[in-house]
């Protein structure tokens, strides 16, 4: 009785039972059950086979690329997404609405299309690629290309998360800091960044998560050389094409666990920062 009471606290809003029921149902049907199936399938392998598949040199290389490039892309987005969101929130310029709309394009575009587009631009004879080639930098078919694709895919997540947070930053705070003698860089470092840090973390998480799962756009620009430019999702597809469902499931389970650890860590940092900062401005 008492435990039930604690679980379902009386609320002014009716419908808790109904909404909680739906939440459980959808989470189970769409997230938990398929994941459980994945783990089960991977679990039905022999331990030795499992270890062999997930620790093969090719698999290890793909993990490095998938997670490394994703983290790098999310990191790039952290910086440039911030600048983008800042200029959209703080300044008035002619094409502001247009640029604001363009931000969402990577959301809407089929990822394969963005992959093809990027490849044509960054290939050695592409618009940008030919100049980079002169400088000795090859983008397409290298890990750099993978990072570029993942950055594009993650960008809207960062910008859209940061925008409302930046709008919320009270001008008064900056004004106060300025009257107290702080210069612009100091205000940015000590006042603005700490204030929007939670949103930046969230944006980073989303961009990272999206990048880890990305497949379509990467396979075109990556060139897919084993050990070098092969991402884990591609490796899974390769296993599938060889009808090695269990191998695919094993790799999937590893990705699942690693992603989960990364996301959980970020969320914990987030929650810790949230507690340290403030529940709400007012």
């Amino acid at each position: 009785m008492t435990s039930r009471k604690r679980f379902h606290q009386p609320s002014v809003l009716p419908g808790f039972g109904l909404t909680f029921g739906f939440t459980t149902f959808f989470l189970s049907a769409l997230v938990l059950l398929p994941l459980a199936a994945l783990v089960t399938m991977a679990g039905s392998m022999h331990w030795g086979d499992f270890v062999h598949v997930v620790t093969s040199a090719r698999a290890l290389g793909s993990y490095r690329l998938s997670f490394g490039a994703s983290a790098l892309a999310a990191g790039i987005n952290l910086v440039f997404g911030f600048i983008l969101a800042w200029s959209l929130v703080r300044y008035e310029f002619p094409a502001r609405k247009l640029i604001d709309a363009l931000i969402d394009m990577p959301f809407a575009l089929p990822t394969a299309v963005s992959g093809i587009a990027l490849t044509s631009v960054f290939a050695q004879n592409g618009w940008i690629g030919r100049y980079l080639a002169l400088a000795g930098i090859q983008v397409a078919y290298t890990w750099i290309g993978v990072t570029v694709a993942l950055t594009l895919i993650g960008m809207p997540f960062m910008v859209r998360t940061l925008q409302p947070a930046l709008i919320e930053v009270q001008r008064d705070l900056e004004d106060a800091a300025e009257t107290l003698g702080a210069g612009r860089a100091y205000v940015l470092r000590r006042i603005i960044l700490p204030t929007v840090l939670p949103a930046m973390l969230t944006g980073f998480t989303l961009a990272f998560a999206r990048a880890v799962g990305e497949y379509g756009s990467v396979i075109f620009i990556a060139g897919n050389l084993p050990m070098k430019t092969e991402i884990t999702p591609l490796l899974i597809v390769i296993h599938l094409q060889e009808f090695d469902y269990r191998g695919a499931a094993a790799l999937g389970a590893v990705m699942l666990v690693m992603s989960f650890i990364v996301l959980l860590t970020i969320n914990l940092i987030h929650a810790w920062g949230h507690r340290r900062m403030v529940a709400s401005a007012r």
Binding site: Q170, T179, L180, G181
Partner: protein, 607 residues
């Protein structure tokens, strides 16, 4: 002087948010800038802090011109309405922020922080986060933070706005105490007059971007110079009264202020009288009054407000001619607000509907020349149409005054030399529509005793700039007085246009050009407390004025004359049928063809 503002002006697009504000705040003074929201007071504060640039004018702190310095170089402390504490920092970090920026040693920082926390009575709160403090405590932290770097001046922007009454009073006391202890020059911005009274050494009152009046709180309350200040600072009944040699009366024979310190005898004319609710006495009969009898009335509603009782009393006899100007709530009929103490209530308890006699203990007459408006036209319809003119309505509403109607057939055929008999004297400013023959209409109205004639084109927009010019020095004072009165109710910029004959043009005697310009400006400032800019042009007067008026939209011309014949002689083309609002101010000199009477402003000079 700690803070010196010189003709500070700030514009946002079309509107002038801060309009020619000049102000001197002395060392260690607590100055309160009071005004309704949107009056430009916060913008002015931000301009002083350096957070907003100014479009015109100068800001100086301790004699140092800081107009072009960034906020961080000005050395001011600023406290915001919403505290603006850094929420991710502890109280200690917030307070030490300015010291950290200045790279002060940690031990010194700690010592200074302790001192400040003691000052605002928050000892031991160092490690709390702002979210863990109450609103009042947060604002105390904000005050301490603003004082950390020992600023020369402390600026407070509605610091008590978000707090409830009890805490507000407590914090008010703290701030006053801190201010006294540190002897720091303080400028506080608020819309709360009670706060202003409680804190201020001096109060400045802003409206429509203009600093209307400033002075000691008691002085401003007892002797306001403008309607706005009279009604904004405390409650006030504004009435149109008649002033004559015998004193001030409300239309009836009853004299309210028999011993009026007039400088010389005057003919009867209209003035605006201020009656504070607490200066009105109510009694059962005329004999029971201990003050001067004013009128009879019937008690309307009664509101009990603790220490005071607030009554609305309807003047029962409209025939007294007393005209109560509408107060903000715009209640029906001529109501007077009266407040009584408990003591008075016990001596003479009243109930709604009771007939009472009203007496007045003290009366203040505003030195404003524009008391009311009279729409003058040849027919009833034309006059009614004129009363609906947007600009006239806006002015009347802001001045809280009435628009009377006057039908004068002679205005219909102005071309015919006005042989028609003189009508009754016109009270207040006369208003006519702009039409061909406007000049003859103006002359006719001046003949009938009008001292100001406002000529309005159809649907004239509210002016953004008021041009001021007088034909000769005799008209200067009156023109300035009327301009000041007008500008207090418009958010327009004032420009005095001085016009000199061209070089080598020997026909006109050349006045002392620049000198006259500066004199005009300083007189406007000293006598009327309003600031204007000055321009000097060369050429033929009417032509130059017409050119100036053609330069931009939404302008109004105030034209001062002392000789009615000048209208025809010098300004005929200008006033024939003006396409912009024109206000003619008539101040007859001794030798000129005199229609009018001596002006109120001659009698009542501002201190």
């Amino acid at each position: 002087m700690s803070i010196t503002l010189d003709q500070v002006t700030k514009r946002y697009q079309d509107s002038t948010v801060v309009n020619d504000v000049s102000l001197d705040i002395g060392d260690g003074e607590f100055f309160v800038l009071l005004g309704p929201s949107g009056s430009g007071k916060s913008t002015l504060l931000r301009a002083i802090a350096g957070l907003t640039g100014v479009d015109h004018g100068r800001v100086a702190l301790h004699g140092r011109d800081v107009t072009h310095l960034a906020a961080r170089e000005r050395g001011v402390g600023l406290v915001f309405q919403n505290y603006a504490l850094f929420r991710h920092m502890s109280v200690a970090d917030n307070i030490e922020f300015a010291l950290r920026v200045r790279r002060m040693r940690a031990a010194d920082r700690r010592a200074r922080r302790r001192e400040l926390l003691r000052l605002v009575a928050l000892e031991g709160m160092d490690e709390r986060l702002p979210a863990e403090l109450s609103g009042g405590q947060q604002q105390r932290v904000a005050v301490a933070r603003a004082l950390a770097h020992k600023p020369d001046v402390l600026l407070l922007d509605e610091p008590f706005g978000a707090l409830d009454a009890k805490i507000r009073e407590e914090l008010r006391r703290t701030i006053r105490q801190v201010q006294r202890e540190l002897g720091i020059t303080t400028l506080l911005v608020t819309h709360d007059q009670e706060e202003a009274f409680a804190l201020a050494d001096r109060i400045g009152i802003m409206n429509l971007g203009r600093l209307l009046e400033m002075g000691r709180p008691d002085d401003l309350y007892a002797r306001p110079a403008t309607r706005f200040v009279a009604t904004f600072l405390g409650a006030a009944n504004l009435m149109l009264a008649r002033q004559s040699v015998r004193g001030v009366s409300l239309g009836s024979d009853a004299l309210l202020a028999p011993r009026f310190d007039s400088l010389h005898p005057v003919r009867e004319h209209e003035v605006v009288a201020v009656l504070r609710p607490e200066e009105i006495e109510i009694a059962p009969t005329r004999d029971a009054l201990s003050s001067t009898f004013m009128a009879d009335g019937v008690v309307g509603e009664i509101l009990f407000c603790g220490a005071l009782e607030r009554l609305r009393v309807r003047l029962s006899d409209a025939a007294t001619g007393a005209h109560v100007l509408r107060s903000d709530d715009g209640g029906e009929g001529p109501f007077l607000e009266v407040t009584r103490t408990q003591h008075d209530q016990r001596r003479f308890p009243v109930a709604p509907g009771l007939e009472v006699t009203l007496g007045v203990r003290r009366l203040h007459v505003l030195p404003t020349p524009l008391s009311s408006f009279t729409a003058c036209a040849a027919s009833e319809e034309l006059a009614q149409a004129l009363t609906r003119e947007p600009l006239l309505n806006e002015l009347a509403t802001r001045m809280k005054t009435r628009i009377a109607v006057d039908i004068d057939a002679a205005l219909g055929s102005p071309a015919a030399e006005s042989s028609a008999s003189e009508g009754p004297a016109i009270l207040g400013a006369a208003v006519i529509a702009a039409q061909p023959g406007a000049r003859q209409c103006i002359e006719r109205l001046l003949q009938r005793g009008a001292e100001e004639v406002l000529v309005l084109p159809d649907n004239a927009a509210a002016p953004r700039r008021v041009l001021i010019h007088w034909a000769d020095e005799t008209a200067r004072r009156a023109t300035l007085a009327v301009s000041a009165s007008l500008l207090r109710h418009l958010s327009a910029e004032a420009v005095y246009v001085g016009i000199l004959p061209r070089e080598g043009h020997a026909s006109a005697p050349r006045p002392m050009g620049m000198r006259a310009l500066l004199d005009a400006r300083s007189e406007a400032q000293a006598v009327h407390g309003f600031d204007m800019r000055t321009e000097l042009r060369f050429g033929e007067v009417a032509r130059e004025l017409a050119l100036r008026l053609g330069e931009s939209q939404a302008q109004l011309l105030v034209l001062g004359i002392s000789d009615a014949a000048d209208l025809e002689r010098r300004f005929a083309t200008l006033v024939a049928n003006p396409g912009w609002p024109l206000l003619v101010v008539y101040q007859p000199g001794t030798t000129a063809r005199a229609y009018g009477r001596p002006r109120t402003t001659d009698l009542l000079r501002l201190a």
